[in-house]
């Protein structure tokens, strides 16, 4: 058995920031990260847009142009940032959480800069900021169009500076808990095939988003919601997992997001007849809310107005925009179009359609990152940070730049809370005797399972089912039907046989383990979507046009494996200040 004071599952920005804060506050603490990737390969690196904070380095002038503001906060403030965030969250965010997020934002971003993050700069040498969809001031700080990559590599450097131990390419199989306390995890060393128990006084889930369960997504192939599965299988609830942000500008064939800023800059969306898609759906045309644009594209395709051979997408038209502007501000668009479609957006139309861009729900936590059980009580020794956690900042929609921000702010805050706990913490608890055996049994059973199905085929059907059931537009009938499909898929999973029976780097085994977990908590998404009888933010139900009472869904796994959804009232919004 391997022992550490703190074990962090996941090595993205939230996990690394948390580890770093524990080490800063408690240098003697023994902190380790266990990840199925390598830290520099964490899905955080694909976050292009930036990190939001009211730094006041630039502001809009009367004409809407960006002008230097030199850190003057008269035009922007954390309060304004919080107001924008709450407005965008459509009544489901926790005002206290949002206030904390926005107040801590400037300090969190400055700290990243002090660590050496290569942020782009204004002409005055300050951190560059740009406009973001839904932000009233230009407050999205960025490092070219690879902000997540820049922060990830900086934090990775800090891990090395502090000598924080990393276990790369280990897949965490289960949470160990006894005496109402998390005691660590059991994990599979992908490289050797060995299954090992890790004991810790504090266990942190930092496993990122779960968008890989959808067929068309911006997320990585690794974003399989493993942390959600760990909590869900341990009997803990998942909160608001049905809330998934769909982005209208997903690149055809890959689902990669093209920044929505390009719509603010005047890009057009055209249907198969080369007409503006939104003319029929929104008077603001391409400046309508993103959820409206996504829905309009889905409607247009359903109505047979799609473009291309299969009428299965629409066109993004940027040909009328200045080439230099596109090269400077949207290098990812030109790169994606050339690499994945072999086209040049300066001269050709780019095929796009809605894609799953961000997952808003997760493991419920309080503002110190402590995981909450079904009775809203903290589970001793268990924390969750980053995109896998649901602490009230997201609400029913997510502003650009707030995802990276909450990973950094709450990673840091949770790290501080753990460091304080460690000072008072006793020795390691009792690691449950059967945890290792149970995890080992799961792996061996899967390796030797006989059957006539391929794991890959079941996965393809799962992704298709989730996309069909829980896309931008949701209907009761389809949701109920696909809840049934998921039951069938679970039965099919018991008929799969792996080709690879080996132990060394058995990637097929790891993908099958991910799949078995997605089949579990995927059901929580559909059940949550069915129970959320309203349209609010990113969640759009055809039968319910308006928002109902603001409440969170909490989905728990019952003993027979089926999900049970309950509702919790969302904290009240503060009275709107005049």
């Amino acid at each position: 058995m391997i022992q550490h004071d703190v074990l962090i599952v996941g090595s993205g920005i939230a996990g690394m920031r948390c580890a770093l804060e524990i080490k800063r506050q408690q240098p003697t603490a023994d902190v380790a990260l266990v990840t199925k990737l390598y830290p520099t390969r964490a899905p955080s690196v694909i976050e292009r847009e930036g990190i939001a904070a009211a730094l006041g380095n630039v502001r809009f002038d009367e004409t809407g142009a960006l002008v230097p503001s030199r850190g003057d906060r008269t035009f922007d403030s954390p309060a304004q940032h919080a107001a924008d965030t709450l407005k965008y969250a459509e009544g489901l965010a926790d005002p206290a959480a949002v206030q904390l997020l926005c107040e801590q934002a400037p300090k969190a971003v400055y700290e990243l800069e002090h660590m050496g993050t290569p942020f782009s700069r204004t002409a005055e040498g300050r951190i560059a900021q740009r406009a973001g969809w839904g932000h009233t001031q230009p407050r999205v700080a960025y490092a070219a169009d690879r902000t997540g990559h820049a922060i990830t590599h900086t934090l990775y450097g800090e891990l090395i500076r502090f000598g924080i131990k990393v276990y790369p390419e280990w897949y965490v199989l289960s949470l160990a808990h006894s005496a109402n306390r998390a005691q660590g995890v059991v994990a599979l060393d992908i490289r050797s095939g060995e299954t090992v128990a890790f004991q810790a006084k504090a266990t942190v889930l930092a496993t990122g988003s779960y968008g890989r369960i959808f067929g068309r997504t911006n997320d990585t192939q690794s974003s399989t919601g493993d942390g959600l599965a760990l909590a869900y299988r341990a009997g803990l609830p998942l909160q608001d997992v049905e809330l998934v942000q769909f982005h209208p500008l997903g690149l055809y064939s890959t689902g990669f997001v093209i920044s929505e800023r390009i719509l603010l800059d005047g890009a057009h969306l055209l249907n198969g007849k080369r007409e503006r898609v939104l003319k029929r759906y929104a008077k603001e045309l391409e400046l309508a809310p993103l959820a409206v644009i996504s829905a309009a594209i889905e409607h247009a395709i359903a109505a047979g107005d799609g473009a291309g051979e299969h009428k299965d997408h629409v066109w993004l038209d940027v040909r009328h925009l200045p080439a230099n502007h596109l090269r400077e501000h949207y290098p990812h668009l030109l790169e994606y179009a050339a690499d994945y479609l072999g086209i040049n957006p300066l001269e050709q139309l780019v095929p796009v359609l809605p894609t799953a861009a961000a997952t808003l729900g997760g493991i419920p936590t309080n503002l110190d990152g402590a995981v909450l059980d079904a009775q809203q009580q903290p589970v001793a020794g268990l924390y969750a940070v980053g995109a896998c956690a649901s602490n009230g900042v997201n609400g029913a929609n997510l502003l650009p730049g707030n995802a990276l921000l909450s990973a950094v702010v709450f990673g840091r805050r949770t790290g501080a809370a753990i460091a304080a706990q460690l000072k008072a913490a006793p020795a390691h608890g009792d690691f449950p005797a059967d945890a290792l055996q149970q995890a080992l049994a799961e792996v061996e059973a899967l390796l030797h399972q006989q059957g006539d199905m391929r794991a890959g085929a079941v996965r393809e059907r799962l992704l298709a089912t989730m996309s069909a059931a829980c896309g931008p537009l949701r209907q009761s009938e389809l949701l109920t039907q696909h809840l049934g499909s998921l039951h069938e898929l679970r039965a099919e999973f018991n008929r799969i046989a792996l080709d690879d029976k080996g132990h060394v780097y058995n990637a097929e085994l790891v993908e099958a383990l991910e799949l078995s977990r997605m089949l579990d908590w995927g059901e929580a998404i559909i059940a949550g979507a069915l129970a959320r009888e309203e349209s609010r933010g990113v969640h759009s139900r055809s039968e319910y046009a308006a928002p109902s009472t603001a409440q969170h869904t909490l989905t728990t796994r019952q003993t027979d494996g089926t999900p049970q959804v309950s509702h919790v009232a969302a904290p009240d919004m503060p009275a709107v200040q005049a």
Partner: protein, 249 residues
């Protein structure tokens, strides 16, 4: 269109040499090499081992030798290879664990030697960020694009013959901090890269620059480090030596 994909099958624990295996995959104009490998694993042969994650050329997991060049499987479309036959091999010069999966430990160990974090004797400002001019930002912009995919180090003949050579990825990492206007550990890093396993092993072959999928100017960075070391020895160390990326010049 059908293409044949040829992959070496190897397990370091049991095999002395790889055996080659061919798979036939149906591709569309959009199919990437990674898509093809994914389809082999999920539809034909689950035992094929390779790494992948982000699919978008940012995580650096899927660096491979594809039809003779080191590239990322995820952003290389099969049609762009102009061939009905595709050979996919693990990154040359890296120890192979299994099939296309190589051992990253030596690579990341060399990176860690470069002090890959900001070192400065200047105090942290009480309020706000450290200022950095756009000119100074552009000095590190190109090197900071590195995704640690290993395509450069794996393309380097010196690396093939001398496994102790730090290699272009680690040296570019050193360069990124040496050129950072906020960092003051220039001499410490020049001492590290100026050793026998450092920049002087580089024979300016430029394979590392030409195979970098992110356009990082690795050989140029190594040359700049060499010049900096010499200028420092001559007592002219304060002279900024900057590599001009073509798009920035």
């Amino acid at each position: 269109m059908n293409v044949r994909i040829r992959v070496p099958r190897f397990n370091a624990e049991t095999d002395a040499t790889p055996k080659f295996q061919e798979y036939t995959v149906t591709v569309t104009p959009q199919t990437t090499v990674l898509d093809a490998l994914n389809s082999i694993r999920s539809e034909q042969d689950g035992t094929l081992a390779f790494r992948r994650s982000c699919r978008s050329g940012m995580c650096g997991s899927c660096g491979m030798l594809i039809n003779g060049r080191n590239r990322l499987a995820c952003n290389t479309r099969v049609v762009d290879l102009n061939n009905h036959e595709v050979s996919v091999n693990p990154l040359p010069g890296f120890p192979v664990i299994r099939d296309l999966v190589v051992d990253w430990d030596p690579f990341f160990a060399k990176d860690a030697v470069m002090l890959p974090y900001l070192v400065t004797d200047q105090p942290v400002p009480a309020e706000g960020e450290r200022l950095q001019s756009r000119y100074d930002y552009e000095r590190i912009d190109n090197a900071a694009r590195c995704i640690q995919c290993g395509c450069c180090s794996s393309a380097c003949p010196v690396q093939w013959s001398n496994g102790d050579y730090y290699g272009p990825a680690a040296l570019t990492r050193a360069y990124r901090f040496v050129e950072d206007s906020r960092d003051t550990a220039v001499r410490a890093r020049l001492d590290i890269v100026g050793t026998e396993t450092g920049v002087w092993r580089c024979h300016t072959i430029f394979n590392c620059t030409s195979d970098c999928p992110k356009g990082v100017l690795n050989t140029e960075n190594i040359q700049a480090l060499k010049r900096k070391i010499m200028l420092t020895r001559l007592g002219l160390g304060s002279i900024a030596v900057k590599v001009h990326a073509p798009e920035l010049a």
